[in-house]
Symmetry: C2
Amino acid sequence: MELSPLSEAFVLHFGEMGSRWGINRTVGQICALLYVSPRPLPADEIAEVLRFSRSNVSMGLKELQSWRLVRLQHLPGDRREHFSTPDDVWQIVRTLAEERRRREIDPTLSVLRDLLMEKAATASDRHAQSRMREMHDLIELITRWSEDVQKLETDQLTQLLQLGGKVVRLLELKNRLPLLGSEQRRRRAGAGGTLATSENQEQDEDQEMLP
Amino acid sequence: MELSPLSEAFVLHFGEMGSRWGINRTVGQICALLYVSPRPLPADEIAEVLRFSRSNVSMGLKELQSWRLVRLQHLPGDRREHFSTPDDVWQIVRTLAEERRRREIDPTLSVLRDLLMEKAATASDRHAQSRMREMHDLIELITRWSEDVQKLETDQLTQLLQLGGKVVRLLELKNRLPLLGSEQRRRRAGAGGTLATSENQEQDEDQEMLP
DNA sequence: CAGAACTTTCAGTAAATTCTGAAATTAAGA
DNA sequence: TCTTAATTTCAGAATTTACTGAAAGTTCTG
């Protein structure tokens, strides 16, 4: 089988991008190929099209399966396993984000938390810990947020993203609404520097905002 | 000079994480070291503390400067150049996002756009193009959004992030507001599948929502 | 159950990358 | 200016990662 120049360009580009992302070129190319392919492909066709050894494709597919980016299916009348990516790009992005969180963010937060528990002996260590605290809080804030919005329906998420920076006007609106208690006045006062993730416990108060 | 066990653990962890991210271990460690250091460090101290050759440190610093993650300064009475990361973690995250966009996202979008301009000859190519279109639109949507919210003030951004998934209630509120015209009714009707980034031209309509 | 079709594993090799020390370059001070 | 300190460059060594072919393993079919 032959790859059209169009698909080939796509596949090669994602091979390169893969290497910049710690994913290797082979894996990037396999994933890209499956993404644009109109039908699920068996491993030997992938090997033929991309000119890799069969065993290399096998390893690449294993890797992609561990990322939950390809699924395996059987076509009637063919004993070989066929592979494809999810049809929905959103699903791919969600999965990627989840896996990166699981593999990279969570372990990092855990290391940071451990180090923050240690008793700092010197001024240097106290300084280091305060930097780690800042980093920890920011990563946690961003991660929590992304975990949260990923649970939204695709159309809600789209709407939110399309809003872009204009979302800030909704925030202003919210802050002005008289029916809310003291919460946002306090927050506004202390908004200067430090992150205040601990304020998250005030969720319940917020909960009442809309029916 | 000696590194405390606390900082060492931090530095080693970010060295490992670096490799998973296409940034090499050395560069990750240097960056982490500068991040927790209470004062700017000259290259030879970095080399001593991390046990790298002086030349390796030089290359690493050059790389970090190209990412705009370290800045150079001169201390009075010392001829050597001293390096440090920005004090503000938010600034680091913003810079990282900008650079990744510039180096990875923009070229990818550009490749996708080029390929979408080509005339598809076969059914296979038409399918590939439609997949590329989906990917292009989603990447663009997410990128535009992140570009946009990064311009917000840190405290606004914090507030937005703390809101998490509850932001959807603001959207609902917005959709219910009587003073808005036909825009969101239309959007809601067609929200099913396709991305509609072209709707971005409706910004001006939105602009009037709040003073 | 035997044999064919297909897949995975793994040891060894090829390729890419990271890192170093020596030499070249640049910049500061006398 | 010359001297010396500091930095960069770069060819090649060391290390890591990617890839292959042969062999072992698995699953299906007659």
